[in-house]
């Protein structure tokens, strides 16, 4: 499907919906503009709120390949862009022996087949693609400057090979967990969207999409319980991912609604800090189960 085939945000919303991702107006508009304007989309929000899933859904609806670049401390160009396959180059050199003339041997050493494409180069080569740059805040700030350069040109220059340019620029999605402030120069180029927790009805719908054969009552109970947990000032409030996990866990145990015993047994799917678990078990659990 061509990116231009979405006339308005509603069309994007419908397509995302069909792809199994239920967007609200904000997400749909952000996705629409990212596709139409070719601007990177900078997503922030509490963990587990569906930032990475949105990139996957975007790839699905545009018929593009998802390429993911997970950032971490110390990541550099040879892990993000490309690297040379040195052992193979050596083998090639050895196999050629003394017979070949030097000039052509040299040229053959830096052949495309010895190039190891890393995520960014993969995204540029295989258009159309969606490039997900996950947790950019974990990378060093020098890496941001480097990214800025690549995103501005949608091209990578390899000294030995020349410039590789994307046929159609990839749709770029950046996510951040705000462990540090991402440089404004990078943010300025992007559309910024803060993804909030979904409301009750949408959360129920999302879970039912993900786990189709689960009992409706259970979904509603869990969504209500999670909504209470989010208000309870925990160290780590559960996100949608936790709601889905918890529902799945209860569903596997054969539950059709939330009861105290099973809720206690599966609490670890939703609440993942020891201190939080103690608090929930002590103060909140009876209330959570009653509240339905």
């Amino acid at each position: 499907m061509q990116p231009s085939s979405f006339p308005d945000p509603t069309a994007v919303a419908d397509a995302l919906d069909r792809a199994g991702y239920l967007p609200d107006t904000g997400i749909a508009t952000a996705a629409f503009l990212a596709i139409r304007m070719g601007r990177p989309l900078f997503l922030e929000g509490d963990p587990g709120v569906g930032k990475t899933a949105l990139a996957q859904a975007l790839a699905d609806i545009t018929g593009a390949r998802l390429v993911r670049l997970q950032c971490y401390e110390g990541i550099d160009a040879s892990q993000a862009l490309y690297d040379w396959d040195f052992p193979r180059q050596i083998l090639h050199l050895r196999a050629a022996g003394d017979a070949a003339d030097t000039a052509s041997l040299e040229a053959s050493l830096y052949d495309r087949r010895f190039l190891v494409p890393r995520p960014i180069l993969q995204a540029l080569e295989n258009s159309p693609s969606v490039l997900l740059i996950d947790e950019i805040d974990r990378a060093d700030d020098e890496f941001e400057a480097f990214l800025l350069e690549v995103l501005a040109d949608n091209a990578v220059t390899i000294p030995e090979l020349g410039t590789i340019r994307a046929e159609t620029p990839p749709i770029v999605v950046l996510t951040s967990n705000r462990t540090r402030e991402v440089h404004d120069a990078l943010k300025r180029r992007c559309l910024y969207h803060w993804i909030a927790h979904p409301d009750f009805a949408r959360e129920v719908e999302i879970v039912r999409r993900r786990i189709p054969d689960v009992a409706e009552q259970l979904t509603r109970d869990v969504a209500a319980a999670v909504a209470r947990l989010r208000e309870a000032d925990l160290l780590k409030p559960p996100g949608i991912a936790e709601t889905i996990d918890w529902t799945q866990a209860l569903h596997v145990l054969g539950a059709t609604s939330l009861d105290a015993a099973r809720a206690a047994a599966t609490l670890g799917a939703a609440v993942k800090y020891h201190e939080d678990q103690i608090r929930v078990r002590r103060d909140l659990l009876p209330e959570l189960v009653e509240s339905r």
């Binding site: 401390e73 110390g74 690297d83 462990t179 404004d184 180029r189 160290l235």
Partner: protein
């Protein structure tokens, strides 16, 4: 409404209003938002909302201000929720000036008038009991401190040393020599400065020391702007790293002062610390960092909460240094409620009442 004039003019005015409210809605972002609206329906208020929000906002803190202003500009609603604006710089500087000054007119006690040029004595003197001239001298000295944190090893390697063989470089050398094994190239781990987090108590009981500590923080930010974070704690938590990045100390202090709404107010250390850990610390700011907490430990809130939050901080941070100005007084026992609750989790309890004490803090941080 937009109908009453060109959309571009309306959005330019709106962006200007956002900037005045502290949102980073610069010209580039404005251009993006106008371009975005080009793809949308400019007569649909929801489309205008998203075109401006997606392009003009840059962090979650911007969103409440954006909502309030958007309602006022485009939905013709009276700006019912007052737009949070920065306080008038004049009042703030007056506040700052009056705040940390010693009471010179205090009951004839004129400490060290003759010793004002004797820096050796001055540097050991309690900051809270200085005259204006002495204070200026001390401020100059604090500005020259360079609080720098020790380094930690990272995952990244750089050439040199004998730590491990750098395969790509070795192979590249081999390729040049026609595949013959050449000299081995080595690499070693890169080191990076550890993050430094300063949490400054700006409540009433700390006010004599607030100015000195802020100057200390400014010196720290100047040495390592990218790896230093500064927050103030009082009745609430305020991040002042950005204003402190201004080069000029006076300007930086004034900007920081205007960002802090709770000067000389009460103390809710536990709650402020929890806010810090929730919003910053746990996400990564405090992880493996050297955390310096400057407070006298007078806690008006729940000391038990402070203890819990200190335990949380201790699990994240590399080292916790508590700077207590009263530590410098003879006969000091850490007996305030907050101090007692926090002490088990503190690695180092140091004084911070004089220049020498602050210099000692620099030493402690450097070797943390």
């Amino acid at each position: 409404m937009i109908a009453s004039g060109s959309p571009v003019a309306a959005m330019t005015g709106f962006a200007r209003a956002l900037r005045a409210a502290g949102v980073a809605a610069d010209a580039t972002r404005l251009a993006t938002s106008v371009a975005a609206l080009d793809h949308l329906d400019p007569l649909d208020i929801e489309h205008v909302y998203w075109a401006t929000r997606l392009a003009l906002c840059a962090e979650p803190d911007d969103l409440p201000r954006f909502e309030a202003l958007f309602d006022a500009w485009f939905r013709d609603r009276p700006a019912a929720p007052p737009i949070p604006s920065l306080p008038d710089p004049a009042t703030v500087s007056a506040q700052l000036r009056s705040l940390p000054r010693a009471q010179d007119d205090n009951s004839g006690e004129q400490p060290l008038r003759t010793a004002a040029n004797d820096t050796d004595v001055l540097r050991r003197h309690d900051i809270s009991a200085l005259t204006d001239a002495e204070r200026d001298e001390i401020n100059r000295m604090i500005a020259m401190l360079a609080p720098k944190v020790g380094a930690r090893r990272t995952r990244r390697y750089r050439p040199g040393g004998r730590e491990r063989i750098d395969v790509p470089r070795t192979v590249r050398a081999m390729l040049r020599d026609g595949g013959e094994p050449a000299l081995l190239a080595y690499e070693r781990r890169r080191t990076k400065p550890r993050r430094l987090v300063l949490l400054l108590d700006v409540s009433g009981s700390m006010s004599p020391y607030a100015d000195g500590l802020l100057r200390f923080a400014h010196a720290a930010v100047r040495v390592a702007p990218a790896t230093t974070e500064v927050f103030t704690m009082g009745t609430r938590l305020t991040r002042i790293t950005r204003p402190l990045r201004l080069r000029d100390a006076e300007l930086a202090l004034r900007a920081a002062g205007s960002a802090v709404p709770d000067w000389s107010g009460g103390t809710r250390l536990g709650e402020s610390l929890r806010a810090f850990l929730d919003r910053w610390g746990q996400r990564g700011t405090a992880r493996r960092a050297v955390v310096v907490l400057a407070s006298d430990g007078w806690e008006r809130g729940d000391a038990e909460l402070l203890g819990e939050q200190m335990a949380r901080l201790a699990r994240l941070a590399h080292r916790i240094v508590w700077v207590n100005p009263h530590r410098g007084r003879s006969g000091f026992v850490p007996a305030t409620g907050g101090m007692v609750a926090a002490l088990p989790h503190v690695d180092e309890l140091v004084a911070g009442h004089s220049f020498d004490a602050l210099r000692n803090v620099v030493e402690v941080i450097a070797h943390a």
